[in-house]
Symmetry: C2
Subunit: 113 residues, 2 copies
Amino acid sequence: MSMAEYKGKVRNIQDTPFGYTMSVIGGKWKMVIIYLLAENQPIRFNDLKRQIGAITFKMLSSQLKELEADGLVKRKEYPQVPPKVEYSLTDKAETLLPVLEKLCEWGVKNQNN
Amino acid sequence: MSMAEYKGKVRNIQDTPFGYTMSVIGGKWKMVIIYLLAENQPIRFNDLKRQIGAITFKMLSSQLKELEADGLVKRKEYPQVPPKVEYSLTDKAETLLPVLEKLCEWGVKNQNN
DNA sequence: CAGTATCCCAGTTGATACTG
DNA sequence: CAGTATCAACTGGGATACTG
């Protein structure tokens, strides 16, 4: 939906493409996870947790699951002991990176005015 | 901050330009408000509420205040009875519109796959 | 190692009534 | 008309302990 189509129609932002985008990347940690994945993939669960630092196991786990369900993150499990799981970005997630850059650029330009 | 600079540094997303952008537009209704303002400015409080539909007075009021504090929305009050207040976008907000379009475009392309 | 399960609190949002 | 005040409900996220 373009902006022009919004006029007089919006009842619930969740029903718009923007709402979809936000549902996919709007989580508190999702952007950080995507950024770090972009730079470090593939990466194991605990390595990712170390990179983020402040996040709890529970949050990292739930956010990764949602990202996987939304087709942004691939999860590869190695059947061995001790367990080993590697996370990486899907092609769909790669197409999102330029958009995220735009958000960052706007933030850089406008944070101090 | 570009993606490259994220590596090994992120502790709190709020401290990044992306975090700033989200703090400014991430509120539940802020994007809708900005979209509708872009199409209908200047617009009065109750007209805006009618356009959005589901929002409460309280939410519209608080979101507009935050947008104004962040320099995205202008508020013009006419000293008359009954009161009349018009809201419109600032230049800063106008620079945000192309970025929002990108988010929408990604949503359109990816909502069904 | 890579997670789950459980409990709980704090902040956000909603409903309703009221005001300058 | 353009809001504010108050209280209730919902929800996201954190702490901790446990498991295959």
